[in-house]
């Protein structure tokens, strides 16, 4: 590894360093438990994103203490690089990966069905948006954090900030992409959706800066200690902040905590209470464009834009009227008066009020949508507005979601991809790229264009391949990588073949799962190769039956032939004794003769022959003897019967040739056997001929028996 050296410091801690990163040097102690000094160190890549560090203790130091067991000569450690996502655990990531398979596969099959029709005129296009949105919703539901225990039925009146499910940045990013790219139908009320988006995810920004959510949460904690709430300046500040980002429910709820509502005070604070209530009513009547996510929220909903505009104008005039009302002078509570009028200013869109009520630029941005420019249209003007808000509230630190929001507004698809990849990882990019292609035709062209600098693949393929590689490195997720690889036209299949070849063949379950994937994608040549590997593996490890099975499955005749030779050696030795029983199972496995068995099918007949011969020896049976002769002739005629078995076979059959009652073989059959003997004696001259392990007089006694049988047969005929 260039630029990285390792040194042992203190108690054997490893310190990576290079010249240009000295400023940002980080030290991670490795607890290896070896006594220093360490003599050698080797670092290599392990599975996935981890390093394998091998440490060797110096031999001299370990020698004196070699009596104790805990002193070992070395140690191998796996070091996981990167702390991972603090928000989402590894197992949660895997759940997300599993869950996103079905929506992704469904979308791909719909896409290919669509392109098969090739008739992308408007009705299909219409459908396509719906499919895309369905896909996006499926993924969103998958990202929903773990459900929190159900909230108490009786709500505390002081419970202002409600905690739903724990939001994650990943889900926030996905929804942001959905708002801008997938949900074309709600494009008209895009700002409205952003308002809702911030309401759901404002808490996430608290990690890097002050937020309205953070202010509210803090205030809620102190609420119990406050005696007269309306005298506390924070009460009014927090309310104005909540109102500025449009959290109407919260503001109304907080207004109702105002002291003037208390029974004993109502009579002498009637006017003050009237003003509070008037503002509360105005807030709850804020006109909003209707959208599915606004259901159940405060505000008056309007479905069509003209109705909304009309209501908006009316609502504004009501606010102005209240603002100019003479009652304010009669209200003697200064804090109430100022606080309420500030709320009115926010609703009237006073830039200064908004600016001081909000905490960072996105909140200010949202407040603009709500109170200054509710009709903002077009991404370009939205971008300009964002720039203005950033100028008014320059960000002190960068949050990954604000970064994403900016690049989306900049409308550069490639930059959006790069930013998502950098901040949210390969899962998000591989899945969100579908939404981006839906963004515009231009984006689709950019993403599908084959690029020379990427080795001829498109951006979309690149990101899928990257994600598939991540899946491939984990032993539990590699099985879903093929779904992504097969959607990659150029290099997917090649990588899939690599992936399948790489899996272990030792365990049947895993092997069969691997073969099943081959079957699904019709990769017969790969499954055949894998089975060959498995066959050889089992054969080498002494599982002969399993080895033969897998080689048969892969139809590997040449290897079966070769191992057949090895099998014959042990057959020749053991077939006569008891252990023949062990062979029976293997012979069964070889199955019918039609299957490739590499000469092993000869074993079937041999088994039959041996069985009838055993019957002959155990008791005299004419039928068994005749059966044995039939088997013998079949064996001798069969070209697959190895030559070296001929003599032992004939020697075993001596009793048949010398059968007392009648000759069992006719003339032509005897001639066949004699010819084989002749062939054998000429084969003996061959240098590689191996002499069977038989008594010296075996050959002559066979000749004699055959001759005797021949004579009797001739006489009979």
């Amino acid at each position: 590894m260039p630029g990285v050296a390792s040194d042992t410091v203190g108690n054997g801690a490893l310190v990576p360093f290079s010249d240009d990163t000295k400023d940002s040097l980080a030290v991670y102690p490795l607890h290896h438990g070896l006594a220093p000094p360490i003599s050698r160190l080797a670092i290599s890549w392990s599975r996935g994103n981890s390093l394998r560090v091998s440490l060797f203790a110096s031999p001299s130091s370990s020698e004196p203490s070699s009596t104790s067991d805990d002193q070992s000569g070395g140690k191998v450690l796996e070091v996981k690089l990167g702390v991972g996502d603090p928000e989402i655990s590894d197992s949660r990531w895997r759940q997300i990966a599993y869950g996103s398979v079905a929506p992704f596969a469904l979308l791909q099959s719909r896409r290919s069905a669509l392109s098969a029709m090739m008739n992308s005129s408007s009705p299909y296009q219409m459908d396509w948006w719906e499919h895309m949105l369905e896909y996006s919703k499926d993924i969103t539901s998958l990202l929903g954090g773990p459900k929190l225990p159900p909230s108490p039925i009786i709500e505390e009146p002081t419970d202002i900030v409600k905690k739903g499910e724990e939001p994650t940045c990943l889900k926030a990013a996905w929804e942001l992409l959905e708002i801008f790219y997938a949900d074309k139908q709600s494009q008209a009320w895009l700002p409205e959706r952003l308002v809702d988006w911030l309401a759901d995810y404002d808490s996430l920004f608290s990690s890097t800066q002050e937020t309205v959510y953070g202010k509210l949460a803090l205030f809620q904690k102190e609420l119990v200690n406050i005696q007269v709430i309306e005298d506390d300046p924070r009460y009014w500040q927090v309310m104005s902040s909540a109102l500025s980002v449009g959290w109407l429910d919260i503001v109304v709820k907080m207004l109702r905590l105002h002291g003037s509502y208390q029974q004993d005070q109502l009579s002498n604070r009637e006017l003050e209470n009237g003003l509070v209530e008037a503002v509360a009513v105005l807030i709850s009547k804020t006109p909003r464009l209707c959208h599915e996510s606004t259901i159940g929220k405060l505000g008056e909903l309007f479905k069509s834009k003209p109705d909304f505009i009309k209501a908006w104008e009316k609502w504004r005039s009501q606010i102005t009227k209240l603002d100019c009302s003479p009652f304010w002078i009669q209200c003697d509570n200064r804090r109430t008066r100022e606080g309420l009028r500030n709320l009115l200013q926010i609703m009237l869109g006073n830039t200064e009020s908004l600016c001081s009520a909000t905490c960072y630029w996105i909140e200010l941005y949202i407040s603009h949508f709500l109170y200054i420019r509710p009709f903002t249209m077009g991404i370009e003007s939205m971008y300009n507005l964002a720039q203005k808000c950033i100028q008014l509230k320059p960000p002190s630190s960068n949050h990954k979601l604000t970064g994403l929001m900016i690049v989306i507004l900049e409308e550069n698809t490639e930059v959006v991809l790069a930013e998502s990849s950098r901040e949210f990882g390969p899962w998000l990019v591989a899945h969100a790229i579908e939404l981006l292609t839906a963004g515009s035709e231009q984006a689709e062209i950019v993403l599908h264009e084959e690029r020379d600098n990427l080795g001829g693949i498109s951006m979309i393929e690149l990101h899928r391949l990257v994600y598939a590689q991540v899946l491939s490195t984990h032993e539990l997720t590699w099985q879903i990588a093929p779904i992504y690889l097969t959607s990659c036209m150029k290099q997917g299949m090649g990588l899939l073949e690599n992936l399948l070849y790489r899996q272990s063949v030792q365990h049947n379950d895993l092997l069969l799962k691997n073969i099943e994937i081959c079957r699904l994608y019709q990769l017969d040549h790969i499954s055949s190769d894998i089975m060959k590997v498995a066959g050889v593996y089992h054969w080498k490890h002494g599982h002969k039956g399993a080895g033969v099975y897998w080689l048969q499955q892969s139809q590997d005749t040449s290897r079966l032939n070769r191992i057949a030779q090895q099998l014959f050696d042990s057959v020749g030795k053991s077939i006569s004794d008891e252990s023949f029983k062990q062979w029976e199972g293997l012979i069964e496995l070889l199955g019918s003769e039609s299957k490739p068995a590499g000469g092993l099918e000869f074993l079937h007949k041999y088994r039959d022959f041996k069985k009838s011969l055993q019957q002959v020896y155990s008791g005299k049976s004419m039928d068994a003897a005749r059966q044995a002769v039939v088997s013998l002739l079949l064996l001798m005629k069969n070209p697959s019967t190895p030559q070296r078995f001929w003599l032992p076979l004939l020697y075993d059959s001596l009793k048949l040739f010398n059968w007392q009652e009648c000759p069992l073989l006719n003339v032509s059959e005897i001639n066949l056997l004699l010819n084989k003997l002749q062939e054998l004696s000429s084969a003996r001259l061959h240098p590689h001929f191996s002499e069977p392990n038989l008594p010296a007089e075996a050959l002559s006694s066979i000749r004699l028996a055959l001759a005797t049988n021949l004579g009797r047969a001739i006489l009979d005929e």
């Binding site: 069969l512 039956g545 399993a546 069964e588």
Partner: protein, 355 residues
């Protein structure tokens, strides 16, 4: 994602419970009180690389599994059985390294109390795979393996003793085993082979199943066997290519095909619900068969292509679950046969309740 209920009348209620660990095997524990339900899970945590056998208790509203007691195993569990013996719950687990663990738990609190094992060094099986079956009443185990060994293990309170009934020396591998009676059991292996054994007759299988399979049909591997206590002469087997067949000892040469890709030719009555590996098969004690005594009893299967179904000879198969991932094992609760627990490839357990 915690609970997905399908409310059509004939569909079972399904709860999918993510476990964040790979589930190697799953079994119900024999139920001793009507209020407590327990299941035993063999899990593998890839983050820490550790395997364990865990008792989980089933909590209602919403249905969830809560880890209750755990035993950490040295190697991954390859097969798991649970039974009851002398007021104790017995769990038997064979591992990929060839060891066998017997765990006892007190049924009152369902916690592991003691463990006896045959460690891998004793060479019960050489690697890679082995399979165990626990006799009903739990005094004896049979273990078989790819190494071709057939062992009988007697369970004592503090120790295990085993004897080797047969060793094929690797010429034949065994991949499944099931007791038929206190002295007889069946095994399965490559090439859809089945063997019938009798403890009283050592030296080899008493009977071997030799099928005359169709010539174009390539016989696969038997993954699971079941034998019904009322019909000990019939051996039900499930394996590769969606194949489920029964072997009647009285008609030895011809298998009775119940499902499978290779079942097609000439066997028009056979439906095939899956074409991939059938990982587990069990007689379904829930469905009252309308069939006459000559028919094979209804059976439940689970498969690599994510199917959990009930098949019955001559009937349309009933699909209970169709998952996007493999269903690797399942178990039908003996006391409530309408409840089924199964392990999903994607680190989850599914619990089904049939109406």
């Amino acid at each position: 994602m915690a609970a997905t209920a399908m409310l059509e009348p004939e569909r079972p209620i399904v709860h999918r419970l993510p476990q964040h660990k790979y589930i190697d095997a799953v079994r119900w524990l024999p139920q001793l009180s009507p209020f407590d339900r327990f299941a035993v899970l063999a899990t593998f945590d890839t983050d820490s690389g550790s395997s364990s056998i865990e008792i989980h208790s089933l909590k209602p509203n919403p249905l969830s599994l809560q880890s209750h007691s755990s035993f950490s195993s040295s190697s991954r569990v390859s097969s798991l059985r649970a039974s009851q013996f002398l007021q104790k719950t017995v769990v038997a687990a064979s591992t990929a390294a060839g060891s066998l663990h017997i765990l006892f738990s007190d049924p009152a609190d369902a916690r592991f109390e003691s463990e006896v094992s045959v460690p891998e060094e004793e060479g019960l099986h050489s690697v890679p795979g082995s399979c165990v079956d626990l006799m009903d009443g739990g005094v004896e185990c049979v273990t078989v393996g790819e190494d071709g060994r057939v062992n009988l293990v007697s369970i004592g309170n503090s120790n295990l003793s085993y004897r080797r009934l047969f060793d094929s020396g690797g010429l034949v591998s065994y991949t499944a085993a099931k007791w038929a009676s206190p002295v007889e059991f069946a095994t399965g292996g490559y090439g859809f082979s089945l063997q019938w054994w009798d403890q009283r007759k050592p030296g080899g299988p008493v009977s071997q199943f030799k099928a005359n399979w169709d010539q174009n049909f390539s016989a696969g591997i038997v993954h699971s066997i079941d034998i019904h206590p009322s019909r000990k002469h019939t051996c039900l087997a499930g394996g590769s290519l969606g194949t489920v067949f029964a072997w009647d000892l009285r008609w030895q040469q011809q298998p009775i095909m119940l499902s499978g890709a290779g079942a097609g030719a000439g066997n028009t009555g056979v439906q095939s619900i899956s074409e991939s590996e059938v990982w587990d098969v069990q007689y379904d004690r829930c469905i009252k068969s309308s069939a006459t005594s000559t028919r094979i009893l209804p059976a439940m299967i689970c498969s690599e292509d994510g199917i959990l179904a009930v098949i019955e000879q001559g009937e349309e198969p009933i699909e209970l679950l169709a998952e996007p991932c493999a269903i690797n094992s399942f178990d039908i609760d003996r006391h409530n046969p309408s409840d089924v627990i199964c392990s999903l490839e994607w680190e989850a357990v599914a619990i089904l309740t049939r109406q």
